[in-house]
Point group: C2
Chain length 380, copies 2
C-alpha cells in the first residue's frame, strides 16, 4: 500500500503534467518538478523561508553527508531532518551510494555492501542497503532511494563493457530487493523509489526495469546518466527508458541538469529532477537567464545598471543591478552568493512552472522551442 498518490493531469505527447500527494504530511508536489539540493540539511546560502518564497515544493538532501555530519543521532534527536533544518515540505534523500562510490580512497565492494574510510576523520565505515534504509528512516525522508551502485561511464579510461555494466546492474538490483525488504521490515511509512541502472545498454536497462517492477516501488528513478557520457548517449537512453517504466508512477532523472537537458527529459516523460547546477553555479557567479548564461565576474557588467534578466521576477532582479552583483562577486561577499542563488533557483523553479502551464495548455512543444531559441540569443 503506497503512501504516495500520483495523478497525471494532462499530457502533451510524452510530456506529463502531474501531482504527487504526500499523504503522511498532506503536502502536494506539482510535476514536472525541480528539487534544489541541500546536501548538509541546508540548501547552500539560503533559508527555508526563501526556498518557499521562490516556489520550492520539495528538496533533495544527501544521506551520506548527513550520516557523517552531524550524525544520525543528532537528526533523530530533532525528530528528523524536517525539524532539524526547519523545512516542512517534502524531502527526498539519495541513498549514499553515489557518494561512497565517488570517494577517492579505495573502497571495498562486496555483496554485503561497501567499506570505506570517512573523508572527515578517516574512521572505517560500512554502508549496506539495510544501513542506508535505516539512516533514511531516521532522517524521515519522504522519498527514500534504494542503495545502488551508480555504474560509471568509463573505468580505467575505457567505456564500461556490457559484461561489467551487467554485473554492476545485477548487484544494484539485488541491493534494491534488500532495500525494499528492509524498508518494509522497519515499517517506514514514507515512499521508496527504485533506480534503473544498466549503463549505456538498452538491453540492460530493460532487464533492470523488469527486476525493479517485480520488486515494486512507489516511483522509479533513472541513475547512471549525466556521468560523463556524450550527450547523444544520454538522449538515446532518455528516449528509450521512460516508455518502459510504469506510466502511473513518478519518474525521476537523477542529477540532471542544464535547462535544455531537463526540457529534453520532460519531452520524454520524466517528472522529477535534482541538480546542484543552479546553486553551485550561483556561487561561482554563473547565472541562468532567459537569454543564455551570464558570467557576472565579466568586466562588461562592471557598470551595467540593468538587472540580471529584465524578464525575471525574482527578488534579486527586482532590486539589484548587475553592477552591484559584479562588485559583490569580485569582493567575495557572501551576499553575492545569496543573491545569485536566489536568482538561479528562481530561474529553474519558474521554468518548471512555465513548463507545467504549457503542458496544461497543450503548448509544451511550442513553449520549449521559444525558450531554447531565446536562450541561444545571448546576453544584452
Amino acid at each position: 500500500m503506497s503512501n504516495i498518490n500520483f495523478q497525471i493531469l494532462a499530457k502533451n505527447n510524452k510530456a506529463r503534467l502531474g501531482s504527487i500527494l504526500f499523504k503522511k504530511y498532506n503536502k502536494i508536489v506539482d510535476t514536472p518538478v525541480f528539487m534544489p539540493v541541500g546536501t548538509y540539511g541546508c540548501v547552500k546560502t539560503i533559508l527555508p523561508n526563501e526556498l518557499e518564497s521562490i516556489g520550492t515544493q520539495i528538496i533533495l538532501s544527501n544521506t551520506f553527508h548527513l550520516w557523517l555530519r552531524p550524525g544520525i543521532d543528532i537528526v533523530n534527536k530533532h525528530n528528523g531532518l524536517h525539524n532539524f533544518m526547519k523545512w516542512d515540505k517534502p524531502i527526498l534523500t539519495d541513498s549514499g551510494g553515489f557518494q561512497v562510490f565517488s570517494l577517492n580512497n579505495a573502497n571495498k565492494i562486496s555483496e554485503e555492501g561497501v567499506s570505506f574510510s570517512s573523508p572527515i576523520d578517516g574512521r572505517k565505515l560500512f554502508l549496506t542497503p539495510e544501513k542506508s534504509m535505516q539512516i533514511q528512516y531516521y532522517l524521515d525522508s519522504n522519498i527514500v532511494m534504494v542503495f545502488d551502485e551508480c555504474t560509471p561511464y568509463k573505468k580505467n579510461n575505457k567505456i564500461i563493457s556490457i559484461d561489467d555494466a551487467r554485473r554492476s546492474m545485477n548487484l544494484s538490483m539485488r541491493w534494491a530487493q534488500r532495500s525494499k525488504l528492509e524498508f518494509n521490515r522497519i515499517e517506514n511509512k514514507n515512499n521508496i523509489f527504485g533506480i534503473v541502472q544498466g549503463g549505456m545498454y538498452e538491453s540492460l536497462r530493460e532487464e533492470s526495469i523488469e527486476k525493479l517492477i517485480n520488486i515494486g516501488f512507489d516511483g522509479y528513478a533513472i541513475g547512471g546518466l549525466s556521468v560523463g557520457e556524450p550527450k547523444d548517449d544520454m538522449k538515446r537512453l532518455l528516449e528509450f527508458i521512460p516508455d518502459k517504466l510504469p506510466s502511473n508512477l513518478p519518474r525521476y532523472l537523477m542529477g540532471v541538469g542544464t535547462p535544455e537537458d531537463i526540457i529534453y527529459a520532460i519531452s520524454n516523460g520524466i517528472d522529477m529532477f535534482d541538480c546542484v547546477m543552479p546553486t553551485r553555479n550561483a556561487r561561482n557567479g554563473l547565472l541562468f537567464t532567459s537569454y543564455g548564461n551570464l558570467k557576472i565576474r565579466n568586466s562588461r557588467y562592471r557598470d551595467d545598471l540593468k538587472p540580471i534578466d529584465d524578464s525575471c521576477q525574482c527578488y534579486t532582479c527586482k532590486i539589484f543591478t548587475r553592477s552591484y552583483l559584479h562588485h559583490l562577486q569580485k569582493t567575495n561577499e557572501i551576499v553575492g552568493s545569496r543573491l545569485n542563488t536566489i536568482h538561479n533557483l528562481f530561474f529553474y523553479i519558474n521554468m518548471m512552472k512555465e513548463i507545467r502551464a504549457s503542458i496544461k495548455n497543450n503548448k509544451f512543444t511550442e513553449w520549449s522551442k521559444n525558450f531554447i531559441t531565446k536562450r541561444s540569443i545571448g546576453i544584452q
Copy 2:
C-alpha cells in the same frame, strides 16, 4: 547651517538619550545607537531588509574600500551608495585614513596627504583630505568623517611619546580644517564630523577638541581608542574627553567595541558606536548572549536543542537549535554565518534599545549592573 538636528530627550547622570534627525532624508536615528559595518557597501552575509527587521537605523561603510572597489565612478553611476546597495536609511562613512595607515606596504605621509600602493592591484594612489571629501560626496554619505591620522598606541614596539602624539594630532587638525573647507567648497549638503586625536594624553585631547570646535562640526568623534591600549587607559580617556565636547551635538566613539565597553562609554556620555565585532565574530561562530559569549563550534553544543539565547527574540533564536547552528558552523555552511550574524547584530541593536529605554526611565545604572552581572554568569 547644520543639516543635522540633534535633540537630547533625557539624561541619567552622563548617559544621554537622544535623536538625530537627518533633514535631507527626513530619517531619524535614536541614540545611543550602534552602527553595523558594511565595508564594501554590504553588511557581510545579510541584506538591507534583514538589517531593517533587526532594527538597524544607520550603518557605517568604508570610503577606502569603496574607492578601490567598485570605484567611485560606479557608485556615482548609481547616484550614491544608498541606491547602489539599496539601503535607504542613513549611512556614515569613515574617511579612509584608518585603512591607509593600517596598510603594510610603506606609505609616504606628507603634509599634503598619504601615498600608498593599492592592496588590490599595486597601483600608486594618493589620498588627501580633499580627495576623501570628494569620495564621500559621491558616496552621498549622510555623515562624512574628516580625513585624519589615527595615532597608534605603539610605534616600533614603544608607546607613542607625547611629542609624537602631538605632531600626529596637529597634522590631523590641519587635515580636519582642510576637510571642512573642501566639504563646504563642494557644497556637500550632508553632515561632517570632526575626530578628536591626541593619543593617551589628556592635554593633547583637550587641545584637539579646542581646534575642532574652532573649525566647527556637526558632531564630534573620538578616534585613537581601542587601538591596543590597556583597558584602564581607554577608561581614563572616556571619563575625560566627552565632558569637553559640545553637549548639544552627537558624540561618536569610533570602532568600539564589546557590549561592556559600549555601556561604559554611554555612561560617560557617548551617543554613537560602530564595530565589526558582532559581524566578524558571528562568522567565526562567537555569539553574544545575555549570559555571556558562546562559541558555537564547541562540541558541548553538538546535541543541544536549546536556542542560542532563550531570552532572545531574534529570527535565529526563534527558529533554530544550537545543535543545528553547531552543525552549520562545522560544515562551513554560509547559512550558519548568516544566522549567527542576524543573532549578533540583533543582540547589539536590542541592547541599545534596552539602554535607551532604561535612560528614559531613569534606570540606566540599574540596567547596566543587571546586564553586566547576567553576562558574567556563563552559558547554560
